[in-house]
């Protein structure tokens, strides 16, 4: 089904282990998989960056050092604050997830696929970028476009640590279904060579993605997917996920551990720690209480 990759691979440095707990940012942007009303409340509360920073400060105080985040404009403001106070935020890192899909989807509706691409070229040397983009298309070579788009998305993170860069699930899964595995290798190589960062892939289809990452020649990949006791958005089924966790060489990051609140926290975390091979958990919270109780549960089961 797929052509084999012809891209030269950059040798992978020994990857640093991720923190056990990563802090997510869905709650800041009115994303809630269970309730439209709750989502709107959160969108109202967090339209001001100060409100976001307060929660991030609580997370930092609880020992959390990583924000796994979108490339939303407001996150650039968060990055700016972290950059401005390096001592206050010692050891803090961003794990950007890109692209910010809705931005592109709406642009495609408005301007078509080519028009949308044209709108998201990086600021630095825009003309040069457009020319590179145009030539890439003429050559039917997607590599230039992917790297340009990554660079545009990374613009907000200059001067802060971003040791992991994720390809967001709508794009990963679109490419996965299309059978476009080469794009994964292009992304991985660019992230390693230009940003000295570890490439990661977010997916709703973990077992299938692992096959394709294998084919793309990406060894021991960092993959983030829903992993939860009730099997919420775990395409392929809980058992296939458990089988993959046990047998396949990859580094698992679990998200949607509480299935948007459908599983009681203790039960959810206990189940996660009973699974083999989960390196890290990403969770979102809007209150100090919730952050501290999640951190507490993880410390308890970690022992």
């Amino acid at each position: 089904m797929n052509t084999t990759t012809t891209t030269t691979r950059v040798p992978e440095p020994v990857p640093a282990k991720l923190d056990r707990l990563l802090f997510g940012d869905n709650q800041f942007f009115g994303i809630n998989h269970r309730s439209e009303e709750k989502a709107r409340e959160q969108a109202m509360r967090f339209q001001n960056v100060d409100a976001i920073m307060d929660v991030i400060d609580d997370a930092y105080a609880s020992g959390i050092r990583t924000l796994m985040c979108t490339t939303h404009d407001r996150i650039s403001e968060v990055a700016e604050r972290v950059r401005a106070q390096p001592e206050r935020y010692d050891g803090f890192a961003f794990f950007p997830c890109m692209p910010y899909a809705h931005k592109y989807a709406d642009a495609v509706t408005e301007s078509g696929i080519l028009g949308a691409l044209g709108r998201f070229m990086p600021d630095e040397g825009a003309l040069n970028a457009m020319m590179r983009g145009g030539r890439s298309l003429a050559k039917k070579d997607i590599e230039g476009i992917i790297t340009l788009l990554v660079d545009a998305e990374m613009a907000g993170f200059t001067g802060v640590r971003s040791p992991v860069i994720w390809l967001q699930n709508v794009v990963v899964d679109l490419l996965l279904g299309l059978g476009f595995s080469d794009a994964f290798a292009i992304f991985a190589n660019h992230v390693r060579s230009k940003y000295s960062a570890q490439p990661g892939f977010i997916t709703m289809n973990l077992p299938m993605l692992l096959d394709h990452l294998d084919r793309a020649g990406i060894e021991n990949p960092l993959v983030c997917s829903n992993i939860n006791k009730i099997g919420f958005r775990m395409s392929g089924g809980v058992e296939a996920y458990q089988d993959a966790l046990e047998k396949r060489p990859f580094r698992a990051v679990a998200m949607s551990v509480f299935a948007s609140g459908a599983i009681p926290p203790r039960e959810a975390i206990e189940w996660i720690f009973a699974q083999p091979g989960i390196e890290s958990l990403v969770f979102g919270a809007s209150s100090r209480n919730h952050i501290e109780s999640t951190v507490g549960l993880v410390r308890e089961f970690e022992r």
């Binding site: 089904m1 797929n2 052509t3 942007f29 009115g30 994303i31 809630n32 998989h33 269970r34 309730s35 439209e36 989502a39 969108a43 809705h102 989807a105 709406d106 495609v108 509706t109 408005e110 301007s111 078509g112 696929i113 080519l114 028009g115 298309l137 039917k140 997607i142 709508v170 899964d173 679109l174 490419l175 996965l176 279904g177 299309l178 059978g179 476009f180 080469d182 794009a183 709703m204 289809n205 299938m208 009730i230 099997g231 919420f232 958005r233 775990m234 395409s235 392929g236 089924g237 299935a259 948007s260 459908a262």
Partner: protein, 365 residues
């Protein structure tokens, strides 16, 4: 294995292609688009067989079914060609730009024994399926009213350069957005018999509408209100909410959750109590084989594939059903063109030319 061709590789077409190619019982044997840069990329990187000509594809590749996701104005001719070639058809919504044509295509497909389906994916959303199940069980008694709403941030400025910004090509808030809540309303309470007071308003667009408001009439005295706006930036993405009022309670459903209020006189329904019961998508949504952008998109394609093997399955979203939705869209367009009933001559200028009216002081308002 079902052999499928995908026609039209825009936003919907690409995502359909991705989902259907991942389906374990399907092979995608060809794709068609007019844009050579997309075809070039797909052919080089995914090994798909690509065509720029639809008929050529049908003539040279043996297919069981096609997925059509071209701009709406091309649907009628392409669907007809596909049916003439004896292949099953999944077509994006709305089916065509005239209900007569949609009904005729439904007739044609039925006479040839071909499976048809239209992409009204909301009928595969767990919460809306649950609402339908409750209504079929008369959980809220006799339905008196339905409120159908959709809001989202599609058009936020005047400039738009694709077919979606032109009504003549099937663009606009009515075809693109309002079609969804309308289709859900007819699924829940039956075909609309009349419409009134329709407003197709522009917020930003020059060649189509951005807002649709109307009153709907259904059989058995059920009334409805439609409220749709695709120029609402306060929503992160399209949000559809259906509120159904009955003699024994009410149902409010969106994609995330269903909120049900049952009076103490309501019939007992398993899993529901008197007063409020709230169920969320996490408990109502069955797992799909492949997830791209919502279980419902995968589920509708899976259903189409299964109907090809088992034509006896319920024909939800078939062409006949979509033709009825197209008919309501047509009624709304005609009703809006008729304009409002006027109370006195003094309001004529204001009512017929709202964008150019002047206040008493002579300033443009």
């Amino acid at each position: 294995m079902i052999r499928v061709g995908v026609v039209g590789l825009g936003k919907m077409g690409l995502s359909h292609l991705s989902m259907i190619r991942a389906h374990p019982e399907v092979t995608v044997d060809a794709v068609v688009d007019s844009a050579s840069y997309i075809l070039g990329v797909l052919s080089k990187y995914t090994g798909l067989k690509v065509f720029t000509d639809f008929e050529k594809m049908l003539d040279s590749v043996e297919l069981d079914a096609v997925l059509i996701a071209t701009p709406t104005r091309f649907h009628a001719a392409m669907v007809r060609t596909a049916l003439d070639h004896g292949v099953h058809v999944f077509c994006e919504k709305p089916l065509t730009l005239t209900s007569a044509e949609s009904a005729e295509l439904a007739e044609l497909a039925s006479s040839r024994g071909l499976v048809t389906q239209v992409g009204y994916h909301n009928r595969f959303v767990g919460t809306f399926l649950e609402a339908k199940r409750l209504l079929d069980a008369s959980a809220i008694g006799r339905v008196t009213h339905i409120k159908a709403e959709s809001y989202g941030p599609v058009v936020l400025k005047a400039k738009g350069s694709t077919w979606r910004s032109k009504r003549t090509e099937g663009g606009g808030c009515l075809y693109d957005y309002a079609a969804h809540p309308l289709d859900l309303a007819t699924w829940f309470v039956g075909d609309a018999t009349a419409v009134a007071g329709t407003i197709l308003g522009s917020v930003f667009s020059e060649n189509t509408e951005d807002e649709v408001y109307s009153t709907l009439y259904f059989a058995d005295g059920v009334s409805g209100q439609l409220s749709v706006n695709w120029s609402d930036e306060a929503y992160r993405k399209m949000t559809t909410r259906m509120s159904i009022f009955g003699t024994q309670g009410k149902i409010i459903a969106d994609r995330q959750e269903i909120q049900v209020y049952l009076r103490n006189t309501a019939p007992a329904i398993d899993g529901y109590q008197q007063g409020w019961t709230i169920k969320s998508t996490t408990e109502l949504t069955p797992e799909v084989w492949f997830y791209l952008r919502g279980e419902e998109y995968s589920a509708q394609l899976d259903y189409f594939v299964h109907r090809i093997d088992e034509p006896s399955l319920d024909s939800t979203n078939d062409f006949a059903s979509a033709a009825r939705t197209d008919r309501i869209i047509e009624l709304l367009t005609q009703d809006a063109a008729g304009g409002p009933r006027l109370s006195s001559p003094a309001t004529v200028a204001a009512a017929t030319a709202p964008t150019r009216r002047r206040s008493l002081l002579g300033r443009r308002s």
